[in-house]
Symmetry: C2
Subunit: 379 residues, 2 copies
């Protein structure tokens, strides 16, 4: 779609990259972009790039935009961020505030953390850096905050695999402006315990499936999840019941109890190993069904390209615990890290807010890394 087809954007563009990443954050947040409704913001981003970044080769896939430098560099990095947010809750338009806990200047409102500030940093650099030290594949995509199979990033990777070749990837998910490497994997399983129904007035004639769950839940409560060091970063795991249900009626001994468990596993474990662990842990259950499985991503911080990025950021990298789309790059064989302004614990919260200073420092670090390393990097 060309900008001529979107008169509102063409006549009165909202996004102004010359205003810098902080103002761009405000501009991006104030465009309604709840998952499934990303067309307006994707149109704005595309129009802005076509107007201000003629050095980029732009591909549009639904509401995902892929914008590439084609400088013939030895190395290429992918830098990606999602355009959608979770639903607003009286927290738009954004406003400038002082953080009640830290006293820092913040932009307050939906999307500031997750992840318009990260997208703003990326857009500002995409326009400014006409000749970065490495080729860059910028990606802004739709449908991140919803079911994994709707992901715009996943769809674009399937539709245009040739555009996603890269040596390293950075995802702009909030990481307090530090590098959070890789991510844990996640698995969900339904664990069933069976019994035998009976009238509860003669309970000894039945087998109570909910009672049988007691030993299993007690074992879960006592289990101490591991801490696993992968490529120098510590990944803390977790094994938790997240749902339970069972029962037939108020006067019937229940013959079925189902526990849904969520296993967060270090990226050093394969998906198969995670499945084997869960099946072994619940070996005394009557059925274990894996209902969701996404492998983790190793941080890949041992590559020279990554090491220079760590130096540019100037802070010790840590492990990303939540599952993020770095896993999609990892699945393509591309080491990937999370790097963006904002505290992930405030994502989706009603008091979501991003420190202005983190937007600026993230912008500076990414800019320095992309600009300074003009000498060719060893393959």
């Amino acid at each position: 779609m060309s900008i001529q087809e979107t008169p509102a954007s063409a006549s009165d563009p909202i996004l102004d990259p010359a205003a810098g990443p902080v103002e761009l954050t405000r501009q991006l947040c104030n465009i309604h972009s709840v998952s499934g409704d990303e067309r307006a913001i994707a149109d704005e981003v595309e129009a802005m790039l076509r107007r201000h970044a003629p050095h980029l080769a732009i591909t549009r896939d639904g509401d995902t935009i892929i914008a590439r430098t084609e400088l013939g560099r030895d190395r290429r990095v992918a830098i990606a961020g999602h355009l959608d947010t979770v639903p607003i809750n009286n927290n738009l338009p954004v406003r400038d505030e002082t953080d009640p806990e830290t006293g820092a200047a913040v932009i307050w409102g939906r999307g500031t953390v997750d992840m318009k500030a990260g997208v703003a940093v990326q857009l500002a650099l995409a326009v400014e850096l006409v000749a970065p030290a490495v080729d860059v594949t910028w990606v802004w995509y739709d449908h991140e905050e919803v079911a994994s199979d709707l992901s715009g990033l996943g769809r674009a990777m399937r539709n245009h695999p040739e555009l996603f070749a890269a040596d390293f990837a950075i995802l702009g998910e909030p990481s307090n402006g530090t590098i959070e490497g890789g991510c844990n994997g996640t698995l969900r399983a339904r664990v069933e315990l069976h019994g035998t129904r009976a009238h509860s007035a003669r309970s000894w004639m039945g087998v109570n499936a909910i009672h049988r769950a007691g030993a299993l839940l007690a074992r879960l409560a006592a289990y101490e999840a591991e801490r696993v060091v992968v490529d120098g970063l510590e990944y803390r795991e977790g094994l938790n019941a997240v749902r339970i249900d069972g029962g037939v009626a108020g006067n019937v001994i229940p013959d079925r109890c189902c526990i849904e468990v969520n296993y967060r596993f270090a990226p050093s474990r394969s998906a198969d190993e995670a499945v084997a662990f869960v099946r072994d842990f619940f070996v005394d259950a009557d059925a274990v069904e894996i209902v969701d499985l996404s492998p983790g991503a190793r941080p890949g911080l041992d590559a020279p390209l990554a090491q220079r990025f760590v130096a540019a950021v100037g802070q010790e990298p840590t492990a990303k615990l939540g599952w993020t789309d770095v896993s999609r790059f990892s699945a393509l064989g591309i080491p990937a890290v999370n790097f963006g302004p904002g505290n992930a614990l405030l994502a989706h919260a009603d008091d979501e807010r991003v420190p202005v200073g983190q937007i600026e420092s993230s912008f500076s670090a990414l800019r320095a890394w992309l600009s300074a390393a003009q000498e060719p990097l060893a393959k």
Copy 2:
């Protein structure tokens, strides 16, 4: 309502007391009478009594019929049975079969056990015994198989308390033709465990309410319910989880788990004592709400009237474990027992069936007791 107002019944009555209790069982079963739809069967019963039992004073309350002898006897017994059944399941009309387990002749189909055979025995005797040794208050009532507050017996007791004065009561619930004295009480409670929500990628920041349920369920599984002897009968108790639910989403540490428990307690315990026991058992829970509470009923088999009934039946009485409407008589200060043909374990089952021999023996025993003891009984 008089029979003149129900032309179908008046012109073509279904119930024929002269055919005896076995044929009456078949006739009663084949009148559709699922709870809430008892009008047709109540009309038939009323019409039959008005035609064949002019010695009875009849009161109708909704679809409950109260029919009393008024002989001025020293003693009065109440003999009651419910007219409704649970929904049918391709098991009507009834048919004559040979029991696949015992080889006995049975009537097979919905309602045979619970409790048309018992009602048939009662109706046949109500017509035949124009001068029983004790005055009798016969009661046939609606809405037994549904929520307790809908009970036709409870309603009739509230509307006509003067009609329910009695020295002893017999409820025709299936008891294999033996006397099952009193009944256990029943209590249901909702037991809540609370926690603190967190993202399951950082589970250590929350408190898992479902995990907390583990110790409680393990304690329930290990608990050995008591056996309590009351008036010579052993009442076996039970304490069981009957439902459980908890959970927020597949990636959230749950902050709430709710367990519904059912406590069946011996009639020697008061309702208050039962509540205190449950509150003490779950003292470490965050909330315990009593949602249902019906006290038990002592068997009252020490009264001379009851002792003669035991002698007439000729078998050792046992304790009734399920809660039955004997408790409603007990609450009025009237000792009460269950006595009817059929195996209670087959009630509501798709293979519900009653032995013909038990209908006949129950009829004979009840007839002998009501007829023979012509000498006045000591108060």
